[in-house]
Symmetry: C2
Subunit: 149 residues, 2 copies
């Protein structure tokens, strides 16, 4: 049985999985300076944009469940990047607030996106191509998160 559909080179998920890992690795030197991991950086981007969200609201934005987020936020609290407090309105909810230290990391993060995108633009790949790719990925996110529910 030849089955070309099972060849690695014909897969779509494998390049997605690899590029995701490789780009995360490309972030590493910048994130190391900030003492952050990539998922921690994602949490900070959410909080920089919108502070004081609940764990659940962060979960929805990052598409990560609380079994991933809770320990992650716990570590970040220990690092004094954010604080977690029970909501007084709904004692089940935990409100996450960024600290001064967390806010200051934003300055260090400012140049990261431009540096990263420079790496990804080539003779064959324009900014337009990247936008197009992002649109496709966002449509897939819509499809694949709908399926879950």
């Amino acid at each position: 049985m030849d089955s070309p559909q099972l060849k690695l080179s014909n897969q779509i998920c494998f390049p997605l999985y690899s590029v995701s890992r490789l780009i995360t690795k490309a972030y590493k030197p910048y994130l190391d300076e900030m003492g952050l991991t990539y998922p921690q950086y994602l949490v900070l981007m959410v909080l920089w944009e919108n502070d004081g969200l609940t764990v659940n609201q962060i979960s929805e934005k990052l598409l990560l469940n609380t079994n991933t987020l809770s320990p992650l936020l716990k570590r970040m609290e220990k690092m004094e990047i954010l604080k977690r407090n029970r909501s007084s309105e709904d004692e089940r909810s935990v409100i996450v607030q960024i600290t001064e230290k967390g806010k200051q990391l934003k300055t260090l993060a400012m140049p990261i996106p431009e540096n990263l995108i420079k790496t990804l633009l080539t003779e064959n790949i324009s900014m337009e191509n990247v936008i197009q790719l992002k649109d496709m990925l966002n449509e897939w996110i819509k499809i694949l998160t709908d399926k879950d529910n």
Copy 2:
């Protein structure tokens, strides 16, 4: 400071990271039937295509280092999906060979790719679009693996 470049919606890595995870999750029902994880499935795809490779050769194909692969292969050997033996030519190398059980899993895997691609094709996303996306990802893999060395 407004810094739109730090908004989650303007990132390219975040949708890559999310889609990679979500597609892996879409594989899960199929892989569960086979008792495999996604990385284990990747190893099998390599071996189905080319049996008897060394750990290093698998490492190059999957872009995973031995610190990830060694434990993964060890688990797969325990599951009796493959065997690991020192090469007699070069005692440093370990040659990985698929077992009968591993070969038989291929039959179960055959329909997976088509089922997966059905999920990913929509009104707005054609097979052509997917191919184009894959080409972009492969170019990025080239760039980002060159950078490493």
